[in-house]
Every structure is written in structure tokens, then in C-alpha cells.
């Protein structure tokens, strides 16, 4: 059974007098432990799909079942609680809280869980060690480089041990070495911790770190590529030829 099931998933926004439909009747299954890249031109619906899976937006139509639960039907507050339990989000611009230290930023999601201060401390220390920034725990975001900020953001995304990590252009604001380090880290999370990773990217080279790439256009799935474990060989299918699994 797939971890994520999208059935006839649509999203419609009002814009002025008219409406726009960034996602239009999408069917998609994603198995647990996958590393999926979403690509497509601007407005193709990839970030909308990412936000729906992350539970920060709700579909206008269709069903979105994650871990057996249709999150499309959750109330706003229950959806917020669900996000805290199941999803870690990595943003393009890191989105760290500037007035909190690296440690406090990583600790933030843990405040939503019933943990003692000691338990929180252990988890934050583990997460910061995992991203190689244990020695920067008391630094504020302005005292870190872009790559370090993104690694703190990744630590924040994984500290609650979520099933799913979503990343929206995680290397979009980084130089090449930092981008490589971040992608290596995301790959490790996928391969060593078996996290399901869904990443939006414009960059084909970044997408190659994923084991699957979905191409979206005008809210529909137009192409599905499967990478052979960094070998560079890619098998491409059209959505009507098979499920995106």
C-alpha cells in the first residue's frame, strides 16, 4: 500500500473575477521511502502538490490519503497537529526564525510534542549532529552561511522524526558546494533513515539526486522518470502507461 495516494486531486484558486487551477485531477501514488523530485515550469502545480502533501494547503477536490488518513477532510487545527506529527518542511530560503539560535530553531517543532526538556535536548543535539552543526548550536541564523542555515532547517525538519520530508527548491539559494552538501544530506536521510522525500526543483542536476522525477505541466502529470541509483540512466514513462510508483 502506498504511503501517499492522490486521487483526482485538484486545487482551484480565485484570482480576481476568474479562477486558476494549478492542479487538475491528479492521480499519484508514492511509496514509503521514496525520494521523489517534482519538476515542471512555473505554474505547473509542483509547489501546490508539495503543499497539499505537506498539509499546509487543502485540495479543492479529490482525496489525499497519507498513511491511510484522508487529510483533505481534516479541520485546520487538526491539520496543523497532523503536520507537526508527520511532516518536515525544508524551504528554499531556509525560513529560520532570526531571533532564535540554531538550537532553538531546531527545538521549535518539538515544543508541539509532549517531551521533557531533557528529551528535547537529546533530540536537538542528535539532529544538529546529523547535519554536522553541533558546534553551531548557539549561533543565530545571521551568524551562519546559507548552506549552514539550510542544514539547520533540515535538522528542524527531521527533529520530530517525521515520515515525510518535503523540500521546496532546497538548493535554490545556495552555491554549488553548499547545494551538493545539502543534497548529500537529504540523500542520507532517505537512504539511511528511510525518510520519504518529496522535493520541488527547477534544476535537472538536483533532480538527479532523487530516485524518481515527476514532471508536471498545467496541473497534470506529463512525465515520470526513474533514475537508476545515480548511474545516470533514466527510464521515462508517460502517466497513462503506469502508476507513478
Amino acid at each position: 500500500m502506498p504511503l501517499i495516494e492522490c486521487r483526482q486531486l485538484s486545487k482551484t484558486y480565485r484570482k480576481g473575477a476568474g479562477t486558476i487551477k494549478p492542479l487538475d485531477g491528479l492521480d499519484l501514488d508514492i511509496d514509503a521511502g521514496r525520494f521523489l523530485a517534482l519538476m515542471g515550469p512555473s505554474g505547473s502545480g509542483k509547489t501546490t502538490l508539495l503543499n497539499l502533501i505537506a498539509g499546509i494547503d487543502r485540495p479543492s477536490e479529490g482525496a489525499l490519503t497519507i498513511g491511510g488518513q484522508n487529510i483533505a477532510k481534516l479541520s485546520r487545527s487538526r491539520l496543523a497537529a497532523w503536520r507537526a506529527d508527520h511532516v518536515g518542511y525544508v524551504f528554499q530560503l531556509y525560513n529560520l526564525v532570526p531571533v532564535l539560535t540554531a538550537y532553538e530553531n531546531v527545538e521549535l517543532p518539538l515544543l508541539l510534542h509532549k517531551l521533557t526538556r531533557r528529551e528535547r535536548h537529546e533530540r536537538v543535539a542528535t539532529a544538529l549532529s546529523l547535519v554536522g552543526l553541533a558546534d553551531r548550536h548557539d549561533h543565530y541564523p545571521r551568524q551562519l552561511s546559507g548552506g549552514q542555515e539550510q542544514r539547520v532547517a533540515i535538522a528542524r525538519a527531521i527533529v520530530t522524526d517525521p515520515q515525510i520530508i518535503v523540500a521546496d527548491e532546497p538548493t535554490g539559494d545556495l552555491d554549488k558546494p553548499s547545494a551538493h552538501a545539502v543534497m548529500e544530506l537529504l540523500c542520507r536521510l532517505n537512504s539511511e533513515l528511510n525518510k520519504t522525500l518529496i522535493m520541488v526543483t527547477h534544476d535537472a542536476a538536483t533532480a538527479e539526486y532523487a530516485d524518481q522525477t515527476l514532471h508536471l505541466d498545467k496541473g497534470r502529470l506529463v512525465e515520470h522518470s526513474v533514475q537508476a541509483a545515480f548511474s545516470g540512466e533514466t527510464a521515462t514513462t508517460r502517466p497513462e502507461e503506469g502508476a507513478a510508483r
Binding site: A54, V99, L100, L112
Partner: protein, 388 residues
């Protein structure tokens, strides 16, 4: 725990020192205004209501119930009332019946000087001390009957706009070119009498060229107001009216209600200005954090947690301003005397007054934070994350 850490609210204050300063100054302004207005109104109320004694009844001229100064009755009313009204208090054979002349007179500080200001003079006999127990001599002695002597209330210098020392015992004042020697000082805290000048009844009758008195004040013991009223109604020839002293000062209090309303309206209007300034500051402060708010929500923090944190932040700024405002008030306003037509009263910054001012400042922080926070949370999370 589903709330953001308090440190988040506290440290956010340091993001923009200018905005913090504007918020704090706005709060200081509101607290100073609210405290001043509250202290003014309370002191005026207290001064008027504190002037009355529950058992006192005033006999004054029919038709002059609203102003003792305009009243003129026969000097014989005192003895007639003493003889006719049942149940007047007495001590050591002296009845608590005080014939008085009330007159606002210009006071000069030299024989040929222009009047420095007007003070309310009360022509009195020794019985005045009995019917007005709020009055106590603090220096010197009471004036001798028939002598050109006065005793001066603690706030009379404020009323006249002169230094306290200028009205010390031994100094003189002049009324219509006639010298009056100050032989004593008295205090009657929280009453209009505190700003008066007391002079022997016969002396003021000479000064004002009148034979009658303004009123007679009686203190009842076993008697009731109905006994006094019966006397008034049975002696139509005297053209008297009787009014409980408490009612008289309630009327005066009502007379000054528009003044108090104006004080409140001014304070509220300026307070609204402070609130709008605070709102503007908070709108700017929170609007620059829309993406951050989206991030916090994406992590799973409920909207309530964000509202609470922003309110905490605003309250911290306003509470700091409130404390500063309260300290400014305590340093600058406590004990300050304010002149008004009935005399003067002293502002007293007691617990309720300072508490009211601080509450106004804190309320400013609360009211000032909620609309900008709600506006900040209006965007869906996905859109908030796109904010620049």
C-alpha cells in the same frame, strides 16, 4: 505545550529598536494621560464629596440652593434654629450651629498691590470647627472674634498662585486695602475647605458690608433632616431652604460633571491617537513577518499560538511603557495641586489610580496587537510562505 517560547516574543522586541521605542513611548503617553485624568477626576470627586459631613444640614436662602455664595439670610437664623430645631448636637453646652459667610474675594500681597488672585473666604465663629471636623489647625491659633485675623488652608497658596511661605503665620494679606494678619494655618485634606481662608464672621461682614450671613450649618445628633425641614416650613418669614450638606456637594459634583467629561474625552481622544500609532507600529512590525508566521504554522503551530506570542510581544512593550509612565506620574504628579473655581485640590496617585493607568497601558498593548496579528494570519499558510 502548543505555544511558542516566550523568548520568541521577548527577542522580537529587539528586531527594530525604533518600533520598540514608538510602542513604549505610545504606552507611556497613554499611561500618563489615563493616570492624570483618573487622578484629576478622583481628586475632584473626593474633594467635593469629602467636604460634606453626613449629619450636617445647611440652611440657606430660598432660591439659592445651588450656591451658598449667592445666599443671604438673616444673622438671627442661627439662634432661631438653635432654639427651634430638635436634636442638634451639642458639646459642653455649645450647640453645633455655625453661621457662615462665604465670599470669593480678591487677595493682594501688599497694601497697594493688585490682587494676586481670588480665594474663597469663610466668615466663621468657633462653632465652625465643631461642624466641620475635617478642619484641624496645623500651625498657630484660631482667629480672635472681631480681629482682622485669618487662618489659611493648606492649598490656599495654590489657589492664589503664591509660594506657601508667603502665607506663613505672621504674614499679612490685603482685601480691599485692609490688612489681615495670618495667625494660623489649617488643613482639611480632600475637601474644598483646604483651599479656603477663614476669617472671623464679624470681620468679613465688615469687609463685605453685609449684616446677614450666607448660611447656617447645623450638625444633627438625635434630630433628623425632617426636623430642620419642619423648622424651615414653619418659618416662612425667614425665606429659608434646608439641604443636607451631602446633597449640596453632590449638586456641585454634578455641576462639574461636564468638566470631568471633557477631561475624559480629551484623555480618550489622545489615547486613541496613541492606540492608532501603536496599531500602525504593530501592523508594520507584524506585516514584515508574514512569511515567518507561515513558517511557524507550517511547523504545526496553531494560529492561537501565533496570536498569543504576538500579544505577548505587544504587551511586553506596552507594559514597559506602562511602568515608565507610572514612574513619571509618581515623580511629577503625586501631590500636585490643581486650581478650580471652588478652590484647589491635590492629585493623589494611590494604588487604584496608578493601577488604572497601568491597566490602560496594558490594554493598549492588547488592543493594539490583536488586529495586526489577525491581519498577519489572514493569508493562508501556503501564500504566507511566498511573502517577501
Amino acid at each position: 505545550m502548543r505555544n511558542l517560547p516566550f523568548e520568541y516574543a521577548a527577542r522580537n522586541l529587539g528586531r527594530s529598536p525604533l518600533r520598540l521605542m514608538i510602542s513604549v513611548v505610545g504606552s507611556v503617553l497613554v499611561v500618563v494621560l489615563a493616570t492624570s485624568a483618573f487622578a484629576f477626576v478622583r481628586a475632584m470627586d473626593r474633594s467635593l464629596t469629602g467636604s460634606a459631613s453626613e449629619d450636617n444640614v445647611i440652611l440657606l436662602g430660598a432660591g439659592s440652593e445651588e450656591s451658598i455664595e449667592r445666599s443671604e439670610i438673616s444673622a438671627s437664623v442661627a439662634s432661631q434654629a438653635q432654639a427651634s430645631v430638635f436634636g442638634i448636637r451639642s458639646e459642653a453646652g455649645k450647640a453645633f450651629v455655625s453661621p457662615e459667610v462665604h465670599a470669593a474675594l480678591g487677595v493682594a500681597l501688599g497694601p497697594d498691590a493688585e490682587p494676586a488672585g481670588q480665594a474663597v473666604f469663610r466668615g466663621m465663629t468657633p462653632a465652625a470647627f465643631a461642624v466641620h471636623p475635617q478642619v484641624r489647625l496645623t500651625k498657630g491659633r484660631a482667629p480672635n472674634t472681631g480681629a482682622d485675623e485669618v487662618i489659611v488652608g493648606a492649598l490656599a497658596p495654590t489657589r492664589l498662585g503664591v509660594d506657601d511661605e508667603r502665607l506663613s503665620v505672621g504674614e499679612s494679606i490685603w482685601v480691599d486695602g485692609r490688612a489681615l494678619t495670618i495667625v494660623g494655618r489649617f488643613a482639611a485634606p480632600n475637601t474644598v475647605m483646604d483651599a479656603e481662608v477663614w476669617v472671623p464672621l464679624t470681620s468679613i461682614q465688615t469687609l463685605t458690608r453685609r449684616e446677614g450671613v450666607s448660611c447656617v450649618v447645623l450638625t444633627l445628633d438625635e434630630g433628623e433632616f425632617a426636623d430642620v425641614d419642619l423648622f424651615v416650613k414653619s418659618r416662612v418669614d425667614l425665606e429659608l431652604a434646608a439641604i443636607p450638606e451631602a446633597d449640596y456637594y453632590d449638586q456641585l459634583n454634578a455641576f462639574y460633571r461636564p468638566v470631568k467629561m471633557m477631561v475624559w474625552i480629551t484623555a480618550v481622544l489622545i489615547g486613541i491617537g496613541g492606540l492608532l500609532g501603536g496599531l500602525n507600529t504593530m501592523y508594520a512590525a507584524f506585516a514584515s513577518r508574514v512569511r515567518e508566521v507561515g513558517t511557524l504554522q507550517s511547523l504545526g503551530f496553531p494560529r492561537r499560538a501565533v496570536v498569543l506570542s504576538f500579544v505577548q510581544e505587544s504587551l511586553l512593550a506596552s507594559a514597559a511603557g506602562a511602568v515608565i509612565g507610572a514612574l513619571i506620574c509618581l515623580l511629577l504628579l503625586d501631590g500636585v495641586s490643581v486650581r478650580f473655581s471652588m478652590g484647589a485640590f491635590g492629585l493623589l496617585l494611590d494604588g487604584p489610580t496608578v493601577g488604572f493607568g497601568i491597566a490602560a497601558g496594558v490594554a493598549l498593548g492588547l488592543i493594539g496587537a490583536v488586529p495586526p496579528t489577525l491581519r498577519c494570519l489572514r493569508l493562508p499558510v501556503a501564500e504566507a510562505l511566498k511573502a517577501t
